[in-house]
Protein backbone atom coordinates (compact mmCIF):
# COMPACT_ATOMS: atom_id res chain seq x y z
CA UNK A 1 0.00 0.00 0.00
CA UNK A 2 2.96 2.28 0.41
CA UNK A 3 3.35 3.01 -3.28
CA UNK A 4 -0.36 3.62 -3.57
CA UNK A 5 -0.31 6.22 -0.82
CA UNK A 6 2.31 8.29 -2.62
CA UNK A 7 0.57 8.39 -6.00
CA UNK A 8 -0.46 11.84 -7.19
CA UNK A 9 -4.03 11.68 -8.51
CA UNK A 10 -5.68 14.33 -10.67
CA UNK A 11 -9.42 14.62 -11.17
CA UNK A 12 -8.80 14.43 -14.89
CA UNK A 13 -7.61 10.86 -14.52
CA UNK A 14 -3.87 11.38 -14.65
CA UNK A 15 -1.79 9.51 -12.12
CA UNK A 16 1.90 10.12 -11.48
CA UNK A 17 4.11 7.86 -9.40
CA UNK A 18 6.86 10.08 -7.93
CA UNK A 19 8.92 7.06 -6.93
CA UNK A 20 9.34 5.58 -10.38
CA UNK A 21 8.37 8.44 -12.72
CA UNK A 22 5.65 6.27 -14.28
CA UNK A 23 2.46 7.96 -15.46
CA UNK A 24 -0.92 6.36 -15.85
CA UNK A 25 -4.28 7.27 -17.28
CA UNK A 26 -7.19 6.18 -15.11
CA UNK A 27 -10.93 6.29 -15.68
CA UNK A 28 -13.21 8.35 -13.44
CA UNK A 29 -14.34 5.27 -11.53
CA UNK A 30 -10.73 4.11 -11.35
CA UNK A 31 -9.77 7.38 -9.60
CA UNK A 32 -12.61 6.86 -7.14
CA UNK A 33 -11.38 3.33 -6.39
CA UNK A 34 -7.76 4.53 -6.04
CA UNK A 35 -8.77 7.27 -3.57
CA UNK A 36 -10.70 4.72 -1.53
CA UNK A 37 -7.79 2.28 -1.58
CA UNK A 38 -5.46 5.06 -0.39
CA UNK A 39 -7.81 5.53 2.55
CA UNK A 40 -7.46 1.83 3.26
CA UNK A 41 -11.07 0.92 2.56
CA UNK A 42 -12.06 -2.69 1.93
CA UNK A 43 -13.11 -4.03 -1.47
CA UNK A 44 -16.67 -4.54 -0.29
CA UNK A 45 -16.78 -0.98 1.00
CA UNK A 46 -15.49 0.35 -2.30
CA UNK A 47 -18.00 -1.65 -4.31
CA UNK A 48 -20.80 -0.27 -2.12
CA UNK A 49 -19.45 3.21 -2.69
CA UNK A 50 -19.49 2.71 -6.48
CA UNK A 51 -23.08 1.52 -6.33
CA UNK A 52 -24.00 4.59 -4.27
CA UNK A 53 -22.58 7.03 -6.82
CA UNK A 54 -22.84 5.28 -10.16
CA UNK A 55 -25.48 3.45 -12.09
CA UNK A 56 -24.14 -0.07 -11.53
CA UNK A 57 -25.27 -3.30 -9.89
CA UNK A 58 -23.40 -4.49 -6.79
CA UNK A 59 -22.29 -7.78 -8.35
CA UNK A 60 -20.73 -6.00 -11.36
CA UNK A 61 -19.06 -3.42 -9.08
CA UNK A 62 -17.55 -6.21 -6.94
CA UNK A 63 -16.16 -7.98 -10.00
CA UNK A 64 -14.77 -4.75 -11.40
CA UNK A 65 -13.04 -3.91 -8.09
CA UNK A 66 -11.33 -7.29 -8.09
CA UNK A 67 -10.34 -6.77 -11.70
CA UNK A 68 -9.02 -3.26 -10.97
CA UNK A 69 -6.92 -4.61 -8.11
CA UNK A 70 -5.38 -7.15 -10.47
CA UNK A 71 -4.56 -4.32 -12.87
CA UNK A 72 -2.80 -2.47 -10.05
CA UNK A 73 -0.88 -5.59 -9.12
CA UNK A 74 0.13 -5.96 -12.72
CA UNK A 75 1.74 -2.50 -12.61
CA UNK A 76 3.35 -3.22 -9.26
CA UNK A 77 1.18 -0.66 -7.48
CA UNK A 78 -0.52 -2.97 -5.02
Amino acid sequence: MNRLSQLALSDEGFVFDPQTGDSFQVSETGIAVLRALKEGRSDEDIAQQLVAHFDVALEEARRDCTDFRSQLKNFGLA
Binding site: S10, E12, F14, S23, Q25
Partner: protein, 346 residues
Protein backbone atom coordinates in the same frame (compact mmCIF):
# COMPACT_ATOMS: atom_id res chain seq x y z
CA UNK B 1 -5.94 41.06 -41.04
CA UNK B 2 -7.79 38.65 -38.79
CA UNK B 3 -5.67 35.86 -37.47
CA UNK B 4 -5.28 32.78 -39.59
CA UNK B 5 -5.56 29.34 -37.94
CA UNK B 6 -3.14 27.03 -39.71
CA UNK B 7 -2.90 23.33 -38.92
CA UNK B 8 0.59 21.89 -39.16
CA UNK B 9 1.48 18.22 -38.70
CA UNK B 10 4.90 16.65 -38.21
CA UNK B 11 5.77 18.67 -35.08
CA UNK B 12 7.96 15.80 -33.91
CA UNK B 13 11.21 17.77 -33.75
CA UNK B 14 13.28 14.78 -32.62
CA UNK B 15 16.49 13.18 -33.92
CA UNK B 16 14.62 12.19 -37.07
CA UNK B 17 12.62 15.39 -37.26
CA UNK B 18 9.38 16.01 -39.08
CA UNK B 19 9.08 19.28 -41.05
CA UNK B 20 6.30 20.75 -38.89
CA UNK B 21 8.34 22.93 -36.57
CA UNK B 22 10.28 24.39 -39.51
CA UNK B 23 7.00 25.15 -41.25
CA UNK B 24 5.40 26.63 -38.12
CA UNK B 25 8.41 28.77 -37.36
CA UNK B 26 8.47 30.09 -40.93
CA UNK B 27 4.79 31.05 -40.68
CA UNK B 28 5.35 32.80 -37.36
CA UNK B 29 8.20 34.83 -38.83
CA UNK B 30 5.90 36.34 -41.46
CA UNK B 31 4.16 38.69 -39.06
CA UNK B 32 1.71 39.98 -41.66
CA UNK B 33 0.11 36.52 -41.88
CA UNK B 34 -0.91 36.78 -38.24
CA UNK B 35 -0.76 32.99 -38.10
CA UNK B 36 -2.09 31.00 -35.19
CA UNK B 37 -0.42 27.60 -35.36
CA UNK B 38 -2.47 24.52 -34.60
CA UNK B 39 -0.11 21.60 -34.08
CA UNK B 40 -1.35 18.15 -35.06
CA UNK B 41 0.53 15.44 -33.18
CA UNK B 42 0.28 11.66 -32.96
CA UNK B 43 1.95 11.20 -29.62
CA UNK B 44 1.99 13.09 -26.33
CA UNK B 45 5.79 13.12 -26.52
CA UNK B 46 6.15 15.13 -29.72
CA UNK B 47 8.29 18.15 -28.74
CA UNK B 48 6.11 20.58 -30.69
CA UNK B 49 3.36 20.13 -28.10
CA UNK B 50 5.61 21.84 -25.56
CA UNK B 51 7.09 24.57 -27.81
CA UNK B 52 4.45 27.21 -27.10
CA UNK B 53 6.40 30.02 -28.75
CA UNK B 54 6.06 28.23 -32.12
CA UNK B 55 2.88 26.19 -31.75
CA UNK B 56 -0.08 27.98 -30.18
CA UNK B 57 -2.31 25.02 -29.53
CA UNK B 58 -1.83 21.33 -30.20
CA UNK B 59 -4.07 18.34 -30.62
CA UNK B 60 -3.44 14.64 -30.49
CA UNK B 61 -4.79 13.15 -33.69
CA UNK B 62 -6.01 9.64 -34.44
CA UNK B 63 -3.85 7.95 -37.07
CA UNK B 64 -4.96 8.69 -40.61
CA UNK B 65 -5.98 5.08 -41.09
CA UNK B 66 -9.16 3.33 -42.03
CA UNK B 67 -11.26 5.55 -44.24
CA UNK B 68 -9.92 8.55 -42.34
CA UNK B 69 -13.33 8.97 -40.70
CA UNK B 70 -11.99 9.43 -37.19
CA UNK B 71 -9.26 11.74 -38.48
CA UNK B 72 -11.74 13.97 -40.26
CA UNK B 73 -14.08 14.04 -37.26
CA UNK B 74 -11.18 15.26 -35.19
CA UNK B 75 -10.39 17.97 -37.75
CA UNK B 76 -14.03 19.05 -37.69
CA UNK B 77 -13.88 19.28 -33.91
CA UNK B 78 -10.75 21.43 -34.07
CA UNK B 79 -12.33 23.67 -36.68
CA UNK B 80 -15.49 24.11 -34.61
CA UNK B 81 -13.69 24.76 -31.34
CA UNK B 82 -10.70 26.80 -32.42
CA UNK B 83 -11.04 27.59 -36.13
CA UNK B 84 -9.03 25.98 -38.91
CA UNK B 85 -8.50 27.97 -42.08
CA UNK B 86 -5.73 25.98 -43.65
CA UNK B 87 -3.86 22.74 -43.26
CA UNK B 88 -0.28 21.91 -44.18
CA UNK B 89 0.25 18.13 -43.87
CA UNK B 90 3.94 17.33 -43.63
CA UNK B 91 4.13 13.56 -43.25
CA UNK B 92 4.25 11.05 -46.08
CA UNK B 93 1.69 8.75 -44.49
CA UNK B 94 -0.90 11.53 -44.34
CA UNK B 95 -0.66 12.68 -47.91
CA UNK B 96 -2.75 10.05 -49.74
CA UNK B 97 -5.67 10.66 -47.39
CA UNK B 98 -5.40 14.46 -47.62
CA UNK B 99 -5.13 14.38 -51.38
CA UNK B 100 -7.99 11.96 -51.78
CA UNK B 101 -10.26 13.99 -49.52
CA UNK B 102 -9.08 17.54 -50.31
CA UNK B 103 -12.53 18.30 -51.74
CA UNK B 104 -14.25 17.44 -48.47
CA UNK B 105 -11.80 19.61 -46.58
CA UNK B 106 -12.65 22.48 -48.86
CA UNK B 107 -16.35 21.90 -48.16
CA UNK B 108 -15.49 22.05 -44.46
CA UNK B 109 -13.92 25.44 -45.13
CA UNK B 110 -10.38 24.18 -44.62
CA UNK B 111 -7.91 25.07 -47.38
CA UNK B 112 -4.95 23.01 -48.56
CA UNK B 113 -2.37 23.41 -51.28
CA UNK B 114 -1.50 19.92 -52.46
CA UNK B 115 -0.61 18.09 -55.63
CA UNK B 116 -3.35 16.11 -57.37
CA UNK B 117 -3.50 12.33 -57.00
CA UNK B 118 -2.10 11.97 -60.53
CA UNK B 119 0.87 14.16 -59.63
CA UNK B 120 1.33 12.37 -56.34
CA UNK B 121 1.50 9.04 -58.14
CA UNK B 122 4.03 10.40 -60.62
CA UNK B 123 6.55 10.90 -57.84
CA UNK B 124 6.30 7.16 -57.10
CA UNK B 125 9.62 5.53 -57.77
CA UNK B 126 8.19 3.36 -60.52
CA UNK B 127 7.21 6.50 -62.42
CA UNK B 128 10.57 8.28 -62.12
CA UNK B 129 11.63 7.19 -65.61
CA UNK B 130 8.72 9.10 -67.10
CA UNK B 131 9.23 12.12 -64.83
CA UNK B 132 12.98 12.31 -65.48
CA UNK B 133 12.29 12.32 -69.20
CA UNK B 134 9.81 15.17 -68.88
CA UNK B 135 12.27 17.08 -66.68
CA UNK B 136 15.06 16.40 -69.15
CA UNK B 137 17.22 15.15 -66.32
CA UNK B 138 19.26 11.99 -66.01
CA UNK B 139 18.21 9.05 -63.96
CA UNK B 140 20.56 6.39 -62.72
CA UNK B 141 19.84 3.39 -64.93
CA UNK B 142 16.53 2.19 -63.53
CA UNK B 143 14.52 -0.97 -63.97
CA UNK B 144 11.03 -1.48 -62.61
CA UNK B 145 10.56 -5.10 -61.57
CA UNK B 146 7.35 -6.91 -60.92
CA UNK B 147 8.81 -10.41 -60.74
CA UNK B 148 11.90 -12.16 -59.53
CA UNK B 149 12.90 -13.01 -63.11
CA UNK B 150 12.83 -9.34 -63.98
CA UNK B 151 14.92 -8.47 -60.95
CA UNK B 152 17.63 -10.97 -61.84
CA UNK B 153 17.63 -9.75 -65.43
CA UNK B 154 17.83 -6.14 -64.22
CA UNK B 155 20.78 -6.83 -61.91
CA UNK B 156 22.56 -8.61 -64.78
CA UNK B 157 21.96 -5.68 -67.08
CA UNK B 158 22.89 -2.88 -64.66
CA UNK B 159 25.84 -4.63 -63.05
CA UNK B 160 26.62 -4.65 -59.35
CA UNK B 161 26.41 -2.84 -57.01
CA UNK B 162 22.79 -1.66 -57.32
CA UNK B 163 20.20 0.09 -55.20
CA UNK B 164 17.04 -1.95 -54.60
CA UNK B 165 14.09 0.30 -53.68
CA UNK B 166 10.51 -0.16 -52.52
CA UNK B 167 7.78 1.65 -54.39
CA UNK B 168 6.97 3.89 -51.39
CA UNK B 169 9.92 3.88 -49.04
CA UNK B 170 13.15 2.14 -48.20
CA UNK B 171 16.20 1.60 -50.31
CA UNK B 172 19.04 -0.86 -49.85
CA UNK B 173 22.40 -1.19 -51.57
CA UNK B 174 23.13 -4.68 -52.86
CA UNK B 175 26.67 -5.79 -53.61
CA UNK B 176 25.84 -9.35 -54.64
CA UNK B 177 22.87 -10.78 -56.50
CA UNK B 178 21.98 -12.84 -53.43
CA UNK B 179 21.66 -9.60 -51.48
CA UNK B 180 19.56 -8.09 -54.26
CA UNK B 181 17.19 -11.06 -54.15
CA UNK B 182 16.83 -10.93 -50.39
CA UNK B 183 16.17 -7.15 -50.46
CA UNK B 184 13.66 -7.80 -53.22
CA UNK B 185 11.70 -10.26 -51.09
CA UNK B 186 11.83 -8.02 -48.02
CA UNK B 187 10.57 -5.01 -50.00
CA UNK B 188 7.79 -6.97 -51.67
CA UNK B 189 6.64 -8.28 -48.32
CA UNK B 190 6.49 -4.79 -46.86
CA UNK B 191 5.52 -2.53 -49.73
CA UNK B 192 4.33 -4.80 -52.54
CA UNK B 193 5.18 -4.43 -56.19
CA UNK B 194 6.88 -2.99 -58.04
CA UNK B 195 10.46 -3.01 -56.83
CA UNK B 196 12.91 -0.61 -58.42
CA UNK B 197 16.51 -1.48 -59.24
CA UNK B 198 18.93 1.36 -59.89
CA UNK B 199 22.59 1.53 -60.71
CA UNK B 200 24.60 3.52 -58.19
CA UNK B 201 25.89 6.90 -59.33
CA UNK B 202 28.79 8.44 -57.43
CA UNK B 203 28.78 12.22 -57.11
CA UNK B 204 27.71 15.17 -54.96
CA UNK B 205 24.33 14.87 -53.25
CA UNK B 206 22.45 18.12 -53.79
CA UNK B 207 18.85 18.95 -52.92
CA UNK B 208 16.26 21.49 -53.98
CA UNK B 209 13.25 22.66 -52.02
CA UNK B 210 10.48 24.30 -54.00
CA UNK B 211 6.86 25.26 -54.34
CA UNK B 212 4.80 25.03 -57.52
CA UNK B 213 1.66 27.10 -58.17
CA UNK B 214 -0.15 24.29 -60.00
CA UNK B 215 -0.13 26.13 -63.31
CA UNK B 216 3.50 25.65 -64.19
CA UNK B 217 4.86 28.63 -62.28
CA UNK B 218 7.42 28.54 -59.49
CA UNK B 219 6.70 30.16 -56.14
CA UNK B 220 10.30 29.75 -55.03
CA UNK B 221 13.28 27.40 -55.16
CA UNK B 222 16.34 27.02 -52.96
CA UNK B 223 19.22 24.64 -53.67
CA UNK B 224 21.41 23.24 -50.92
CA UNK B 225 24.17 20.80 -50.23
CA UNK B 226 24.25 18.78 -47.05
CA UNK B 227 27.67 19.21 -45.48
CA UNK B 228 27.17 16.76 -42.67
CA UNK B 229 24.42 14.38 -41.72
CA UNK B 230 23.51 12.48 -38.57
CA UNK B 231 23.77 8.74 -38.19
CA UNK B 232 20.16 8.63 -39.39
CA UNK B 233 21.16 10.47 -42.56
CA UNK B 234 19.44 13.73 -41.53
CA UNK B 235 21.04 17.06 -42.35
CA UNK B 236 23.07 18.62 -39.53
CA UNK B 237 24.95 21.31 -41.40
CA UNK B 238 24.37 22.54 -44.94
CA UNK B 239 25.09 25.35 -47.35
CA UNK B 240 23.01 27.11 -49.99
CA UNK B 241 24.15 26.59 -53.57
CA UNK B 242 23.09 27.55 -57.07
CA UNK B 243 23.77 24.67 -59.39
CA UNK B 244 22.44 25.96 -62.70
CA UNK B 245 21.59 22.62 -64.27
CA UNK B 246 19.82 21.39 -61.14
CA UNK B 247 17.81 24.59 -60.68
CA UNK B 248 16.75 24.50 -64.33
CA UNK B 249 15.67 20.88 -63.90
CA UNK B 250 13.64 21.88 -60.83
CA UNK B 251 11.94 24.63 -62.85
CA UNK B 252 11.15 22.15 -65.60
CA UNK B 253 9.70 19.81 -62.96
CA UNK B 254 7.28 22.57 -61.89
CA UNK B 255 6.50 23.61 -65.46
CA UNK B 256 6.10 20.20 -67.07
CA UNK B 257 4.13 18.51 -64.30
CA UNK B 258 2.28 21.69 -63.32
CA UNK B 259 3.24 20.69 -59.80
CA UNK B 260 1.03 22.13 -57.10
CA UNK B 261 2.39 22.46 -53.58
CA UNK B 262 5.68 21.90 -51.86
CA UNK B 263 8.34 19.40 -52.91
CA UNK B 264 11.92 18.35 -52.43
CA UNK B 265 14.12 16.90 -55.15
CA UNK B 266 17.05 14.74 -54.14
CA UNK B 267 19.73 14.71 -56.80
CA UNK B 268 23.24 13.50 -57.43
CA UNK B 269 25.37 15.86 -59.44
CA UNK B 270 28.41 14.71 -61.37
CA UNK B 271 29.96 17.66 -63.23
CA UNK B 272 27.16 19.13 -65.29
CA UNK B 273 25.12 15.93 -65.19
CA UNK B 274 22.22 15.94 -62.75
CA UNK B 275 20.69 12.64 -61.73
CA UNK B 276 17.28 12.48 -60.09
CA UNK B 277 17.18 10.18 -57.06
CA UNK B 278 13.90 10.96 -55.38
CA UNK B 279 10.95 13.34 -55.28
CA UNK B 280 9.31 14.08 -51.93
CA UNK B 281 5.84 15.63 -52.36
CA UNK B 282 6.07 17.76 -49.21
CA UNK B 283 8.43 20.14 -47.41
CA UNK B 284 11.66 18.55 -46.15
CA UNK B 285 12.50 18.81 -42.44
CA UNK B 286 15.07 21.54 -43.24
CA UNK B 287 12.42 23.85 -44.74
CA UNK B 288 13.46 26.65 -42.36
CA UNK B 289 16.80 26.86 -44.17
CA UNK B 290 15.02 28.46 -47.16
CA UNK B 291 13.11 30.81 -44.86
CA UNK B 292 16.39 31.82 -43.22
CA UNK B 293 17.83 32.93 -46.55
CA UNK B 294 14.73 34.97 -47.38
CA UNK B 295 12.57 32.50 -49.30
CA UNK B 296 9.70 31.78 -46.91
CA UNK B 297 8.01 28.95 -48.78
CA UNK B 298 5.42 28.03 -46.10
CA UNK B 299 4.23 31.65 -45.99
CA UNK B 300 4.12 31.75 -49.77
CA UNK B 301 2.14 28.49 -49.74
CA UNK B 302 -0.43 30.05 -47.42
CA UNK B 303 -0.88 33.06 -49.71
CA UNK B 304 -1.15 30.81 -52.76
CA UNK B 305 -3.79 28.70 -50.98
CA UNK B 306 -5.74 31.86 -50.13
CA UNK B 307 -5.44 33.05 -53.72
CA UNK B 308 -3.53 36.18 -52.77
CA UNK B 309 -1.33 37.67 -55.48
CA UNK B 310 2.31 37.77 -54.54
CA UNK B 311 5.51 38.98 -56.16
CA UNK B 312 7.99 36.49 -57.62
CA UNK B 313 10.09 34.71 -55.01
CA UNK B 314 13.13 36.72 -53.90
CA UNK B 315 16.59 35.54 -54.87
CA UNK B 316 18.91 34.12 -52.26
CA UNK B 317 22.67 34.05 -51.81
CA UNK B 318 24.76 30.95 -52.28
CA UNK B 319 27.10 30.26 -49.38
CA UNK B 320 24.70 30.73 -46.49
CA UNK B 321 25.30 28.24 -43.74
CA UNK B 322 22.72 26.07 -41.97
CA UNK B 323 23.61 24.76 -38.53
CA UNK B 324 21.19 22.58 -36.61
CA UNK B 325 21.70 22.42 -32.86
CA UNK B 326 20.29 20.77 -29.77
CA UNK B 327 18.51 22.76 -27.09
CA UNK B 328 16.27 21.90 -24.16
CA UNK B 329 13.17 23.22 -22.53
CA UNK B 330 11.88 22.49 -19.07
CA UNK B 331 8.19 22.69 -18.33
CA UNK B 332 5.59 21.34 -15.98
CA UNK B 333 4.13 17.86 -16.11
CA UNK B 334 0.71 19.51 -16.46
CA UNK B 335 1.16 19.91 -20.21
CA UNK B 336 1.89 16.26 -20.59
CA UNK B 337 -1.13 15.49 -18.46
CA UNK B 338 -3.31 17.67 -20.70
CA UNK B 339 -2.01 15.94 -23.79
CA UNK B 340 -2.81 12.56 -22.30
CA UNK B 341 -6.13 13.30 -20.66
CA UNK B 342 -7.66 15.90 -22.98
CA UNK B 343 -5.78 15.17 -26.17
CA UNK B 344 -4.97 18.88 -26.46
CA UNK B 345 -2.40 21.31 -25.13
CA UNK B 346 -2.38 25.08 -25.01
Amino acid sequence: MKDLAIGVSGINAVDNPGPGIGVARSLKEDASLNARIIGLAYDAMEPGLYMDWVVDRSFIMPYPSGDGGAYFERLAYIRDQHGLDLLIPNLDAELPLYIKRAGELKDMGVGTFLPSMEQFKLRGKDKLIEVAERMDIKLPKTKVCTSLDQLIAAVDELGLPVMVKGSFYKAYAAYTSTQAVSHFHALVAEWGYPVIVQSIVVGEELNVIGLGDGEGGSLGLVGIKKISVTSLGKIWTGVTIKHRAMMEAANRFIRELKWRGPFELECIVKGDDVYLIEINPRFPAWVYFATGVGVNLPARLVRAALGVDQPPAPDYDAGKLFVRYSYELVTDMVKFQQAVTRGEVG
